[in-house]
């Protein structure tokens, strides 16, 4: 790849990392932060991030082109899947959206570093301009991210939030999953080399005690995304003074209410359901495993499933899923074999699947209990009489749900949202938007930016 070696992750794979290299990198990051990052205002950071994102959305952008050229081999996602996932992500980067995020997370308060706080002027418009400043906030000096390997957006968002908090950042990528974080970091470097010098990325197989020990000794705050085992292992290694933010794996599902199951709307609903299944090939925690579809709509639930299968077949032509590992294909194959057997014996169970490939699968069954999909465009469609049946079906998932994608009339949607919120779902969005959370998304119900920062309360 034709990229300069700015980051440890740019080194050739045979270059062995040592704790001394990690130590040196962390020392440099701290120095660079003091010089280059601390003087920067929130507004200037927003401007930079929006500029970088706007560049990524240009077809000729170098980093975008590298992502689409090298991504399929490195990540397993097809260029079409990468393109729509990255575009949806970077389109959220607007000054308005960043201001909404800051208003939500810090109100009108100023960052103690960079913002012009001595003058008492607010660089970010406060929602209640007349209320007194509640205090000042600041980000961690050295923010360490332990990134997961499945989809890139969470890693890119972590780096974005860290820039907003003006933290030096060290991201440990999963081995073999560094490409997109690297390209994003290079694009920051390209836009502003001084800010790029406050980032470090490296990739190694998680659990390397020597490297991680060195890294954690420097960290002020560590975020980690991954399995429960990964999070527990990271947490156990951290010195007690280091703050830890762990994001475990979650699951998501969709709900389609019967009023939208009519001929006038069905094509749009099906298309939005397919958007959520195709986005990142269902690899993220926000992707649906199951779509619950209310019975007794003008279009019946099995018709919904059949039309969804047709739509997924068309999506495969337009935006192919891409190759997957043998083990992943084997999971799909095993699940298909089971449901083919069930479907042969039960008139109320059906399966539609791509021929001669595992590219997509729709399983229709009346059993309301939530099922874990083998993912990679494998979706369960489950008819339900009403919302309580859904809540019974997902009963064992308390605390493990990320997102519910809703297709319902506006009045019904508000009512359903209340019910799901009461049950404990942290995010409810329109079907079709499940993998495109806004910048203001509170990750797993926690304030994403707010959790990173520390406050100075002013009680004067």
């Amino acid at each position: 790849m034709n990229l300069p070696a700015y980051f440890l992750a740019d080194l050739p794979p045979e270059a062995a990392l040592t704790p001394a290299m990690v130590n040196a990198a962390c020392d440099t990051l701290r120095r660079n932060r003091a010089k280059y990052l601390l003087p920067r205002s929130t507004e200037s950071m927003i401007a930079l991030l929006c500029e970088v994102a706007s560049d990524w959305l240009q077809p000729e952008n170098r980093f975008r082109r590298l992502a689409l050229e090298l991504g399929p081999a490195e990540t397993g996602f097809s260029a079409a899947v990468l393109q729509s996932g990255l575009d949806a992500f970077f389109r959220e980067f607007t000054p308005g959206n960043f201001r909404r995020l800051l208003a939500q997370e810090v109100g009108g308060a100023l960052c103690v570093t960079g913002d012009d706080w001595r003058a008492g002027r607010e660089s970010v418009p406060a929602p209640h301009a007349s209320s007194p400043a509640p205090g000042y906030w600041r980000g961690p000096e050295l923010l360490v991210h332990i990134a997961a390997g499945n989809i890139p957006n969470p890693s890119l968002m972590s780096l974005t939030l860290g820039l907003l908090t003006r933290s030096a950042q060290f991201m440990k990528c999963a081995s073999g999953a560094a490409l997109l974080p690297r390209l994003f970091a290079h694009s920051i470097y390209h836009a502003d080399p001084k800010l790029g010098a406050c980032l470090e990325l490296a990739a190694w197989r998680g659990g390397n005690r020597e490297l991680e020990g060195a890294l954690f000794a420097h960290a002020d705050c560590v975020t980690a995304t991954g399995s429960d085992e990964t999070l527990a292992a990271v947490r156990a290694q951290l010195p007690s003074r280091v703050r830890f933010l762990g994001y475990g794996h979650k699951v998501s599902f969709g709900f389609v209410a019967r009023e939208v199951l009519r001929e006038e709307e069905i094509a749009s609903v099906i298309s939005r359901a397919a958007d959520d299944i195709v986005a990142w090939n269902q690899q993220g925690c926000l992707s649906p495993h199951v779509l619950y579809v209310e019975e007794r709509g003008a279009v019946e639930s099995d018709q919904f499933a059949q039309r969804l299968a047709v739509e997924l077949a068309q999506r495969e032509l337009a935006a192919p899923r891409g190759a997957i590992a043998t083990e992943e294909a084997a999971r799909i194959d095993s699940q298909r074999a089971i449901y083919e057997t069930i479907a042969a014996h039960r008139a109320d169970a059906k399966i539609w699947a791509s021929a001669n490939s595992t590219a997509w699968t729709v399983v229709f069954e009346h059993e309301v209990t939530f099922r874990f999909s083998p993912l990679n465009r494998f979706i369960f469609v489950k008819p339900v009489p009403d919302l309580p049946a859904v809540l019974r079906g997902v009963d064992e998932l308390h605390g493990r749900v990320s997102t519910v994608g809703l297709a319902a009339s506006p009045a019904k949607a508000a009512e359903l949202a209340r019910e799901f919120a009461h049950w404990g779902v942290p995010r409810i969005c329109p079907l079709g938007r499940m993998q495109s959370p806004p910048l203001t998304w509170r990750h797993d119900g926690r304030p994403a930016l707010g959790d990173l920062i520390l406050w100075t309360d002013i009680e004067l």
Partner: protein, 381 residues
Amino acid sequence: MTPELSAYAARLRGLMAVSPPAISPAQFDRLALELFALQFQSNPAYRKICEARGQTPATVQHWSQIPALPTAAFKDLDLTCLAPTERTTVFHSSGTTEQRPSRHWHGMESLAVYEASLTAWFLENVPPDLRFAIADLRLICLTPPPSLVPHSSLVHMFDVVRREYALPASVFTGQLDAAGSWTLDFTSVYNQLTAAIQSRQQVILLGTAFSFVHLLDFLAIKDLVFNLPEGSLVMETGGYKNRSRILPKSGLHALITERLGVPREQILCEYGMSELSSQAYDGGARSLRLEASGSSTPSPKPQAPSRFSFPPWARAQILSPETGQGVGEGETGLIRILDLANVFSVLAVQTEDLGVRRGDGFELIGRAQLAEPRGCSLMNA
């Protein structure tokens, strides 16, 4: 059950009794298509699935096209040609987490085929000097006895081996704990091993991989090392099923050699499941014979790539999960087995195990776990 199936079973047992066993490819194909047609008639649950797939005796031309059923289908369906009154025995799939185990029904005749199959192929795979009952042989099974676990096909198999040898000195050293999990009576194993060494008896030690881990951990804690008499044989089988820590195969075998004094070439690995009536073996006498005959300079490498082989009346196919087509040599796919010894159930079984194709056999990779895509751990929670 029909007279045709009974006649088929009798014929198959005749073929199994030939040593060394040999069935030509054409003969295998004929036998498979014949059995498929019989099962299509007599196994309504199987027929329904074949019809749904449009694969019937009228359309299937070759044994490799015979519709295979997933092992999971044995959980929900009675996949048998036996009438309810003919079902005398049922084997369940193992595993502590199984809510609903597989059920493989057997009757008198099907057990006779099962036992003929396992005996013939077991004897073919043990060293020649262990092939016949000899007085100074001691058989130790690290499982509970059949009376405690009547639905374990594995324990039934061990019991058949025990009967075959007709040995007075044979013992099951496993027990069941309150939760129904298999445990080991360490004192009993210790006494058995000690007695074998004192009386210089060769030992055949049969067990699951996790029972060997339990035993080896016990020996490590007590700092005990046994040096079993030369010629002793270890046979290990099955996965770990969350019943012990997991060791890679080479690590398990190294520990067996270290703690029990049984060299690698005397360790036999078995691959079997309750849904089948035949087993595959890796290592042991037959593998060594093949290795020696395969090259003019027999390789002494103890860690040659492992290769499981079924008897001639069963075939393993390694299929690409993506396309359903057979994979090339050295490539990985799902293991599908066509077992003629499954006379009274379903002859073609699709496993959820991945294997690397090695000639007619395979190297076992293991189960493709569901719903742990790229590190999602909800299923483990």
